[in-house]
Each structure stands twice: as structure tokens, then as C-alpha cells.
């Protein structure tokens, strides 16, 4: 039955590339962050960050509202978006304009008062990172006291009536043996869901030794998620990678389909237009800039880069028996210099 459904999805993907549907629009409000994660896909932290002004965001949101019949959900992210002093100006404007919005945050700045303000400003969903038990988390994120503050932030969020308060955990060699203990923590916190993903070789993690999972670890991770889900807990893997029929639709709700450029677009901190913020930033992956291009024009008339299967660029992928379902995998985990996937689970999971 899975194979049949995957074939159905394959046919749908071909149509989707011709008629993409903008569902999620990421806004990277800043590259600044008060944590300095070893694995950060965006290499954020104490860095200089080009940032659009609030007024530029207002104009952009007006444009999107005018040009799209169905408004995408805004996914506010960074860096740590709460570091922007005009954060509430921007999201308030978005809410008043009719956008639904959610946010990723490290949670360290979310006091009870902040959680209430986020609720009152219309935030519906949020994902907060917990990357291990206290010592592991603080070391990984190079943030002394970060774990305690993040847990406190999650508790404050759960006091409000958000649609979803999700915890995201990036699994590495350093914390994979803490999964069960973290699961107990999630049960006690009583979050809406727990997203458990493997570290990806992108951003700072490209040069990080000793963190990447090996093949046995991947099996352990996916078996862990599947087991919890079979028991009914809202544990989920992320959006990345085709996992083979043994794990597809077992460790997450749906089958693999990289959203980049067909469901998702992103506005980077400097106004550049891309598909997913995790994708390597280089000329061919940047499709325009909202300071000089109209976003809807770019979405409708550019983006061909993301509407061609990655597997077309790689002979091994093109000849793989799972090519129709994987299509080279996720755009954020593609080696654009050598045109090959950075992560491939063939011969690991299937």
C-alpha cells in the first residue's frame, strides 16, 4: 500500500512543480542569536546581520497580501527573532494584515509576560529547541544556563493557549543516549509534540567532528521514534530525507516531499529570496531580493531551480530504484559543488 501511495505522490509532485502552492513563508528577522550552537545551520550568533527595517517588512507583507489569494503562514525565525527590538511591531502588523504566524526560538527569552504577549499578538505555533539534558544542551548550544531558561520558556508558553508548542531536538552522537530521558521530560512538560531530527551536515555542522550519527545511530533514532509513535505519543521526525518504505509514514505523518520552492519560500535577513533557509546560500539558490524584486513575480516566474528534481543532476540518484520517491532528497542537504546528496539512506535504511 505504501508503494502505491508513493507512486500517487510522485504523480502529484510532478503537477505541484507546475503549479506550486505557497503554504509557508519564512521570515529570517535576524542572524543575531544569544546562543552559539555548534551545529547552527545558519551560523548565527554574535555576527553582523543585515536586517530589513520594520517598514520594509510592512511593505513586503502588504505586497504578499495583495498578490496572493490565500495567505501563506508566516514562519518567523532567525537567529533568535526575539532579539529584534521591533519584533512585536513586525508580527503585530502581520497579524493585523491577516497572516497566521508561528516562530522558532531558543526559548531563553520567553518569560511569562513574553508568552502572554506572543499570544496576544496572534502567534499560533512555536518550536523551541532542547538539544539534550542540561549539560549536553548547554555545551552543544554554548549557552550556560540555556537549558534551564529554555525549559522555563516552554513552561511559560504552555500556560498560554497556543495551537502548538513543539520541542525540537537535534540528535547527535552526544545526546542520542539521552533520548529516553528527554522523552520523559517531554511527557512531564506535556508539550504538544516533540520533533526529533538528526544533525545535518550543513552550516557549522559541516566542520563539526564527533557529532554526526553513524548508520547504527540512524536505525536507533528511527526505531525510537517509531516505537513512541506506535504507543501513541506525538513524537515526529522532521521533513528531511526519503527513509524507505520501512520508515516512511511511520516516523512522521506523511511521506517525504521537500517543501522547498513548491510549498515554501523564505526571505533572508538581508531580503534575499530563497526556498528554505537551511539551503546553502549561493547565487543559484537565491532567486531575488524583496528590496528590488516583487516577491510574487519571483515565486511565479523564478524558482525553476527548485522545481526540477535534484536527482536529474546526479546519475547515481537518477538510476536509483527509489528515485521517484526521493528525487535526490532535500534541497538543504545537497552538495551543490559536486551535485550529490550530503545524506543518503540507501543501503542504510532501505
Amino acid at each position: 500500500m505504501k508503494l502505491q501511495q508513493l507512486h500517487t505522490l510522485y504523480e502529484y509532485k510532478k503537477q505541484l512543480r507546475k503549479q506550486p502552492k505557497l503554504k509557508f513563508l519564512f521570515l529570517e528577522l535576524t542572524m543575531r542569536c544569544n546562543e552559539h550552537c555548534r551545529h547552527c545551520g545558519s551560523s548565527c550568533g554574535d555576527v553582523f546581520s543585515d536586517e530589513l527595517t520594520a517598514e520594509q517588512y510592512f511593505a513586503f507583507l502588504d505586497q504578499v497580501k495583495n498578490d496572493f489569494d490565500t495567505l501563506p503562514m508566516l514562519c518567523v525565525t532567525g537567529g533568535e527573532p526575539l532579539l529584534r527590538k521591533d519584533f512585536f511591531d513586525i508580527v503585530s502588523y502581520a497579524s493585523r494584515s491577516g497572516f497566521r504566524w508561528g516562530m522558532t526560538s531558543n526559548g531563553t527569552l520567553i518569560t511569562a509576560e513574553m508568552a502572554k504577549k506572543l499570544k496576544n499578538t496572534g502567534m499560533s505555533t512555536i518550536s523551541v529547541s532542547i538539544d539534550g539534558l542540561e549539560h549536553t544542551h548547554d555545551d552543544f548550544r554554548r549557552s550556560r544556563g540555556g537549558f534551564v531558561r529554555s525549559v522555563e520558556g516552554i513552561k511559560n508558553l504552555l500556560q498560554q493557549d497556543f495551537l502548538s508548542v513543539q520541542v525540537t531536538t537535534v540528535v547527535t552522537k552526544k545526546n542520542i543516549r539521552e533520548l529516553e530521558a528527554l522523552f520523559e521530560l517531554m511527557c512531564d512538560l506535556d508539550v504538544h509534540s516533540w520533533r526529533v531530527i538528526n544533525i545535518e551536515p550543513i552550516g557549522r555542522a559541516l566542520t563539526l567532528d564527533g557529532y554526526t550519527l553513524d548508520n547504527d545511530d540512524y536505525r536507533h533514532l528511527f526505531d525510537f521514534i517509531r516505537r513512541k509513535r506506535q504507543l501513541g505519543y506525538p513524537v515526529t521526525y522532521g521533513c528531511q530525507h526519503f527513509l524507505g518504505t520501512e520508515y516512511e509514514r511511520e516516523v512522521r505523518d506523511w511521506y517525504f516531499l521537500c517543501n522547498a520552492g513548491v510549498y515554501t519560500a523564505s526571505i533572508m535577513a538581508n531580503g534575499d529570496i530563497g526556498a528554505c533557509l537551511d539551503i546553502e546560500r549561493r547565487p543559484e539558490t537565491i532567486q531575488g531580493n524583496i528590496l528590488k524584486d516583487r516577491f510574487s513575480d519571483v515565486w511565479h516566474h523564478q524558482f525553476s531551480f527548485y522545481r526540477t528534481p535534484l536527482s536529474d543532476k546526479n546519475e547515481k540518484c537518477a538510476n536509483c530504484s527509489s528515485c521517484d520517491f526521493c528525487e535526490g532528497g532535500a534541497y538543504h542537504s545537497w552538495d551543490y559543488d559536486n551535485d550529490q546528496p550530503l545524506v543518503c539512506f540507501r543501503d542504510v535504511l532501505f
Binding site: 503585530s92 542540561e134 516531499l257
Partner: protein, 185 residues
């Protein structure tokens, strides 16, 4: 009033079958999402400099798998379970959802007590809907399965599910970051 948990056993039948949580309920719940009033902008975001775990926290037990060592005190839990659920805003994790799932895939039959449950209902070959003595409804594996940790003994429901679990490619939308899809359009 019985406390309901968000992060709890849900829809085991559907989850085990791969249809998982949140399929039908998320988009429906979103329609009920109402924005609050526009707030007065307050730019006083500042770094939290001091934070403590609430008094009503306790150290959770670490699993055998944990090699956390001196990290054991870092896992905290809320002993009061203070975060009650607003059932109008939850993913489709309610008991009624479970019942629906059960109705769809089984011929229900009542059973006698087992492991503290006051009543049970078989909703799939290896899954039981059990009402605990405290009123909680839990989805539990069949007793014979529950006594075994062998993952291999978990039935592959996919193999037995026929075409009961429908698939819509239009809804095959994995939210990148944000949990349940907030707007499936």
C-alpha cells in the same frame, strides 16, 4: 474534572497504522484559532539573566540507556501537571477520535480488567482501549504484547490495514518546523 494531557498516548491504532496524529484534526482546529487584540508594542525584550525551576518540579528518573551521569538532576518535570488542555485547540488526540478510529477498524468487544484498568475495549488485534481506575483512557498494547519489549512483536498494521487508511497527496504536507500545519489552505 479529569485532567487531559497533550503529550500522551493517542490514537494508537491510527498511529501504529501510520496515519499518525493530527491528520484530520489539525486543520479543523486551526479554523477555530482567533487572533487576539493587537498588542501595544513593547520593545523591552531583554536577556533573561536569572531563571529558576519552579518549586513544584521534581527530578525525573533517567532511563537505563542514559549515560547522563551527573546530568540526572537536569531533567525536570512538573509534578502538578499544571498545563491543562483546552480541548478545542488540540490536535485530534481526543478519546472520541480514538473511538472513531477504533470503530473503523474493529469489531469492539468488552474485556475484563487487566493491569489496573476498569474497563477495556479491543479496537485492533493488538491494541486495547482501557479506562484506568482514575478515569484516564489509555491506549495499551494487548497484554501479550505489553509483556514483551521485543519490537519485532509489534504487528505491522500496514500489512493488515487493507485500504482503510486513505491517502491524499494534496495533504502530504510536512510542516518544516512548526508542528501541526497551521493552514492547509
Amino acid at each position: 474534572m479529569k485532567e487531559e494531557k497533550r503529550f500522551r498516548r493517542i490514537m494508537a491504532a491510527a498511529v501504529a497504522a501510520g496515519t499518525a496524529f493530527g491528520i484530520s484534526g489539525c486543520s479543523a482546529n486551526i479554523n477555530g484559532c482567533v487572533y487576539g487584540p493587537a498588542p501595544v508594542p513593547d520593545n523591552s525584550v531583554s536577556q533573561v539573566t536569572e531563571s529558576s525551576v519552579e518549586e513544584n518540579t521534581q527530578v525525573t528518573s533517567l532511563s537505563e540507556n542514559s549515560d547522563a551521569g551527573d546530568l540526572s538532576s537536569s531533567a525536570v518535570s512538573n509534578a502538578n501537571g499544571e498545563n491543562s488542555m483546552d480541548s478545542t485547540t488540540q490536535p485530534d488526540t481526543s478519546v472520541s477520535d480514538v473511538s472513531t478510529a477504533g470503530d473503523d477498524i474493529s469489531s469492539s468487544s468488552s474485556l475484563t480488567d487487566f493491569t489496573g484498568s476498569t474497563s477495556m475495549e479491543v479496537i485492533e488485534d493488538d491494541i486495547i482501549l482501557a479506562e484506568q481506575s482514575n478515569g484516564d483512557i489509555e491506549i495499551v498494547p494487548d497484554a501479550s504484547k505489553a509483556q514483551s519489549d521485543d519490537e519485532d512483536e509489534i504487528d505491522d498494521v500496514w500489512e493488515n490495514s487493507g485500504d482503510k487508511f486513505s491517502f491524499s497527496p494534496e495533504d502530504n504536507l510536512i510542516p518544516c518546523v512548526y508542528g501541526p500545519p497551521a493552514d492547509l489552505g
